[in-house]
């Protein structure tokens, strides 16, 4: 395939995270190459930083959270998702085992210390949303940024926090060690439905609209690659997946990694298309806690372009 820009830089905030597994699969399985792309993957200290790199022009394409496209619209940046990678956020709210009796629902988090990856991050909003939904006031809990790594595990083990809203592998690690009890789990279809009443897009591939307009073939190639990746993930066994990712990813603890893959498998998008209700629920969650966004008039149709993914689905 002859694309306009075969050399691409891609940004991601924490590539080894299972959240971004489709990216690693596409890379390792050579799907980018098959599409005639040469992708350099830049890993950032967080999703926000990879988005900043996109806006700043140092990367062309980002695998990041869908909510970024909504936020950017409010900021006057035209950024579009082109394919959905995760249909459930994969965020889990859990409480310390010893507190499990006292905290049964998010509403009981009043006065509790809740660990989130970063203040203002989607894990933070996730708790806010859950508390509000359960009839509590999100402001009544204290939110502590603990990151998404060993620091988060440490915080829970040391008893610095009473509840945690985080992603895998932190959650799987804590679960495996028996430190926590899960209250709300958006890694599964069932859990997500319970929380959001429908699906809720998580990781997507997004680009600047200018770039999409200028390089449609390239974008198509990207989407094709990710689509292949999603299809592969749909059928692959856990062993296949573990064998495909770089060894370094499970060097820490292979069993844990397998467990986490197992737990996350359901979250990956099947079609790559974000459903209408998913977009709405994402927007609803954001506007609830962000005055600026609430004021902005967000046009959801400008957050996702489904033409590429539809073409990719037709092609394959």
């Amino acid at each position: 395939a002859d694309v306009e820009k075969p050399k691409l830089t891609l940004g991601v905030g924490g590539k080894p995270l299972l959240y971004y597994l489709p990216l690693t699969i596409a890379e390792r399985k050579g799907f980018f190459k098959e599409e005639g792309l040469e992708v350099e993957i830049n890993d950032f200290g967080g999703g926000a930083k990879s988005l900043q790199a996109l806006v700043g022009g140092s990367v062309d394409v980002v695998t990041g959270a869908y909510e970024h496209t909504i936020r950017m619209q409010a900021k006057g940046q035209d950024i579009r998702a082109v394919i959905e990678l995760g249909r459930f956020p994969g965020i889990v709210l859990a409480v310390k085992k010893e507190k499990a009796d006292a905290i049964k629902s998010p509403a009981d988090l009043k006065g509790a210390k809740v660990g989130v990856t970063a203040p203002g991050s989607s894990t933070n909003f996730f708790v806010n949303y859950l508390i509000a939904k359960a009839g509590g006031n999100p402001k009544d809990a204290a939110y502590i940024g603990v990151g998404g790594g060993a620091g988060a595990v440490a915080a829970m083990k040391k008893g610095e926090i009473e509840a945690i809203s985080n992603l895998d592998p932190v959650i799987s690690k804590l679960e495996a060690d028996g430190d926590i009890v899960v209250i709300a789990d958006s890694r599964t279809e069932k859990g997500t439905k319970e929380i959001f009443g429908g699906s809720n897009p998580a990781a997507v591939v997004y680009l600047k609209q200018d770039f999409i307009e200028a390089n449609p073939k390239t974008v198509q190639a990207i989407v094709n690659a990710f689509h292949k990746s999603l299809k592969w993930l749909e059928t692959a066994s856990t062993d296949d997946i573990v064998a495909t990712v770089p060894e370094a990813y499970y060097l820490g603890d292979r069993a844990l990694y397998e467990r986490a893959v197992e737990a996350s498998r359901e979250t990956y998008s099947r079609t790559g298309i974000i459903p209408e209700d998913g977009m709405k629920s994402a927007l609803g969650m954001l506007t609830q806690f962000d005055e600026e966004l609430a004021k902005a008039n967000v046009d959801l149709s400008k957050t996702f372009t489904d033409t590429f993914v539809k073409k990719a689905a037709g092609g394959s």
Partner: protein, 265 residues
């Protein structure tokens, strides 16, 4: 130069800086957009307005208080540690030579990576931030005090030893005053680093403090919030440094000073 002239010039530079910043961020150029992308750069007026709002609302003071505590603690412990070890190593050459490579290696460990370990050991409260700031301040002060002690004039030292001074007295009357200028030079640098340590610590995991506020603002792409946080930091460090300078002036009165070769007019 008189104090008022100096102050006027300082303020002038500050205003000039704000003006340039304003021109770059708030005034659209040809393309209709300002030269500096508003996605990354807030305008000075917005930042000042936001800072003012936060100050008035009182919320900022709480966070500022936390960061201040951490900074002061990190600075104090780091400086004391650096001074103590600097003296110890300078006086015990053998210790210095044996541990030299390890100290240098320790100084090169990225603090950001250590943050989880600090969180584990010291919890998520202020102490893990203090630890982070400490590791920055300590090395800067240490290397300077170490060098400062070794730079003592050999004649003055020999004289003091001939006066019969023991190690403690030498420390007090010779090494300490001789190393003072070196020490203060390092303290000026390390005030800033103490703050950086505290803020980065908060940024990486905490529930309060300026770093927390900045991180929060950053997560929702609120540049004005980020810049406002940095403005507060900047003002803040100037205030702390003023204290350091005042102490320095007191402790180094004996120096000839710049006016030494000039008689009173």
């Amino acid at each position: 130069m008189r104090r008022t002239t100096l102050l006027a010039m300082q303020v002038g530079v500050g205003l000039a800086f704000l003006l340039v910043w304003h021109l770059l961020t708030a005034v659209p150029v040809s393309g209709g957009k300002p030269l500096f992308d508003p996605f990354f750069f807030s305008t000075p007026l917005d930042v000042l307005a936001r800072t003012w709002k936060d100050l008035v609302s009182g919320e900022l003071w709480y966070h500022l208080g936390i960061t201040l505590t951490e900074t002061v603690l990190a600075f104090t412990f780091g400086a004391i540690g650096g001074i103590a070890f600097g003296f110890l190593f300078a006086r015990r050459e053998i210790l210095a030579s044996v541990f030299d490579p390890y100290i240098k290696a320790a100084n090169a460990l990225p603090r950001v990576v250590l943050a989880p370990i600090f969180a584990l050991w010291f919890g998520l409260g202020i102490w893990s931030k203090v630890a982070l700031g400490f590791t920055l301040v300590f090395f800067i002060v240490f290397f300077n005090v170490y060098q400062g002690v070794r730079e003592v004039s050999p004649v003055v030292l020999a004289n003091a030893r001939m006066l019969g001074m023991n190690e403690r007295q030498l420390l007090r009357h010779v090494y300490w005053p001789a190393a003072l200028t070196w020490m203060f030079s390092s303290l000026h640098t390390s005030v800033g680093f103490a703050l950086v340590g505290a803020v980065v610590g908060e940024y990486l995991g905490s529930s309060a403090g300026l770093g927390y506020k900045i991180h929060e603002a950053e997560s929702v792409f609120d540049v004005t919030g980020v810049f406002s946080g940095m403005l507060v930091l900047a003002v803040f460090v100037i205030v702390i440094d003023t204290f350091v300078t005042a102490i320095e002036k007191r402790l180094t009165v004996w120096q000839p000073g710049t006016g030494a070769a000039t008689a009173q007019g």
